[in-house]
């Protein structure tokens, strides 16, 4: 081979850049995946000892407050642990509950997550599907998907009636867009299944 010359500089720099970009991108997916394992453990501890906060790792500034499951007959399923707060640092590890005080009480629960990690499955959710939510006391509540809408966040303010019992899942739209800053939001609205009692049995 010839000696290194200045024409090799660009491909080398680009190759390093490519590796860095990929590293960064894959790190986001890896974090989202593996954090849920640690959070699952913290959730189990929370169920045993619900009166105190169990952080998934020592320096975490968020902790699990709910568990969300979605299952369909064709075996598609999802099992997620919802964190308190929906700022960027929480959403990197799991779905976030927007107003933390509503985690255990009756009323509306608004949960947001990234469209390309935890809430990627929302594109497969249909109206009529059942979403199950486990609260800190271990009780499961079933919700039925009632409505799926796409809004422009610039002219549709997120206004919710916190006294209505329900579940609102929010993620970005379109699901496979490359640019993360788009204005569109995908909203999945679910209401408690009428007549369905609270079950303590594990799903």
């Amino acid at each position: 081979m010839k000696t290194f010359n200045r024409y090799d500089l660009l491909p080398c720099v680009m190759l390093i850049a490519a590796l860095l970009f990929w590293g960064q991108g894959l790190w986001i997916y890896a974090k989202a995946q593996f954090a849920q394992v640690l959070i699952a453990d913290a959730w189990q501890r929370s169920l045993v000892q619900p009166d105190r906060i169990h952080k998934p790792w020592q320096w975490a500034d968020t902790w699990p407050v709910l568990r969300l499951q979605w299952q369909r007959l064709d075996a598609a399923s999802e099992d997620l642990y919802v964190l308190s707060g929906a700022d960027g640092s929480a959403l990197a590890f799991g779905p976030g509950l927007l107003s933390a005080e509503s985690a255990s009480s009756e009323g509306l629960k608004v949960i947001a997550a990234h469209r390309d990690t935890h809430f990627e499955f929302l594109q497969d959710v249909n109206t009529g599907d059942t979403l199950s939510l486990q609260d800190i006391s271990g009780a499961w509540h079933d919700y039925r998907v009632d409505d799926i809408t796409i809004v422009d966040s610039r002219d549709s303010p997120l206004i919710v009636n916190s006294s209505v019992d329900g579940l609102l899942l929010i993620t970005c739209y379109p699901f496979h867009a490359v640019n993360p800053g788009g204005p569109l939001r995908y909203l999945v609205t679910a209401y408690p299944v009428p007549g369905a009692g609270i079950s303590l049995a594990a799903h």
Binding site: Y7, P11, M14, L98, D116, V151, V160, A177
Partner: protein
Amino acid sequence: MHTRDTQQYHHKKPSFWSILFDNLAFVIVVGLVLFCLQFAASVKAQTPDLARAGEMFLVSKQQRVTPALQLNTNVSMSIEGMTSRVSVQQAFTNNSSEWQEGVYVFPLPDDSAVNAMSIRLGEREIVGEIHEREEAREIYQKSRDAGQQAALVEQQRPNLFTQKVANIAPGETVTVELQYIQAVRYENGRFSLRFPMTITPRYIPGVPLGEMEAQQEFVTSNKGWADPTAIVPDAAEITPPYLSLHLQNRINLDITLDAGMEVDSLRSPSHRLDILESLQQDNLFHMNLEGGSAAMDRDFELEWQPRAGQVPQAATFVDSVEGNTYLQVMLMPPQVQASSAALNREVVIVMDTSGSMAGASIAQAKRSVEFALSRLQANDRFNVVEFNSDFHPLFPESVNASAANVMRALNFVRSLNADGGTEMYPALQWALATRNTDTDGMLKQLVFITDGSVGNEEQMFTLIRNDLKAARLFTVGIGAAPNSYFMRKAAELGRGTYTFISDLDEVASSMDALFSKLGNAVMAGVQLTWPAGTEVEYYPTAIPDLYLGEPLFVTAKITGKVASAFDVGISGQLQGKAWERNLNVTMTEPAAQKTTVTSALASYWARQKIAALTDLLQTGTGIEEVKAQVLAIALPFQLMSRFSSFVAVERIVARTQDAALFSSKVGNQPPAGQLLAARMAGQNLQSQQLVYPGTATPAALNLLAGLIALGIALCSSRWSRKQLFSINYLRVDRPARDIE
């Protein structure tokens, strides 16, 4: 072409895999392009019908109460030269099955000269008359109780008005039209105009007076959410309710701009516009809101900039009306950039962190302070004061703008939250009073960052007037609907300037312009000389110091006959040097049909005179004396003021005495990004407004960027330069002797 060029390197017939491998870079690039195309197509295909704006989620249908009265606003503006004539039509539609009286508190520009009002009932139009405030109220109440249709407009603040419309029949629409004249702002070579659409909740300082029964007779139907206090006795009149979150007040805008000079850029920072340029006439533009209408949740702003080289340096506008002459004079003083290092100054940043700043405003305010801190010079002294219910200065007294002190200030500002009351008075009082031996002799500049949403404007103005001394006060109005009256007047009394910031993107440019003013010399001691023997009354009577980019703007009335052409002498001091200039004014033929009421210049002059007279209240002149003087101008010029109101009454009785009349408040829309107003709007429905979190990661963007980088790496590698591109490419790229 690649295969032909690369043939010389392949002697045996290549297999499929070797072709693929040889052209790997090419395949990746093609793949990438296909991927991007497919992605663009999928986005386009997937963009669905968007849900209706303002849709309320998870609020059941029963809860979506329709208000008794619905408001639709139509505004047409006609801008010519430096004057804008505006007509505001407010249509109240009664959706209930009862007779209604509508009460609506609304904003208008703070320098607007409201000079006409009328009501439209179907095809009929009833022209309103100007009356003394109490008299107008009586006329209105009498006709309301008698069942006649009537409307009353009162001024609560120069930028805040109350509209009352009586006896709207079930299913009927009553339209009230207001007309006003407004001056166009001209600064830094740019013209601009604001039209406010809603109100940021006003904080009412002071102890509530309790039930003021004496005042309640009229006020009960108009009770806002604040109780009157000794400091703000009219609190209820200026704190209207907010519309439920799922409802909107819609507005249509129709604007004609006759720029009079070639326009380089014309835009609205606040709204998307459809702009039509006239083909028949040069420099004439016609504008509408994109999509026809918009929600009334923010101030409308319009800006236009003349083409370079056409930037006006001086202008005069003259109207001869009923034997008198009204004129407007605009003159740009010479623009001298002084080195700011020479200035020995102390900058005190006063920042509003009250509840009304919660949401978008506090973010804009923080960014503004960060910008201000970054612009401090090493030899400046500075301090930061934040206030809500209490105030907290960062340093007990101003300190050097050392890197460590600025860093401390940045950390302090970033940690602030918006909550609590707006006790502006003690904070500003402290900031004005504080000084020590180090800052003695320094030029003290106060940068006051706030939305100005207080009800005690008068009290604040008196404070600034009395305590300013040698300091200068610069106001920065924050948010979608700042109190523009407070911003302008406080800056005027503080001998500084005012700036508005309604978007994070505007922070840098607006604060940059402000700091150029802070750092540069001013034109001071401006004097006007009028031709001998003429009787002239002009406003502002004391010409303010002119900062960099600011023109002299004077409105005058010359009583009696004047020469057909004369000079106005203008002189001032710039950096200790005297400056003088003569401005030639040529009279126009008196227009026979023009009266003091129809002439825009006459109306604007009278409005300036009323403002000057009202200012006398701050210097101790009794209210009765001021009232008499204001009425002596307001009534003949048919102008709205705090002492004169418009009232229009239909003669025919519409509602018989057996039908009851209900009174309904028409709410304002919570300003965009304003959490306090949104919370107040949601209170009765137990609803709340949340902020959409960012719900996408840059992972895909990273992978794509990585793919592009890899593509470039492969294409530019030595191996592929040889394989993929022809020898010709190499010959162009490299000297011939380098070819292998």
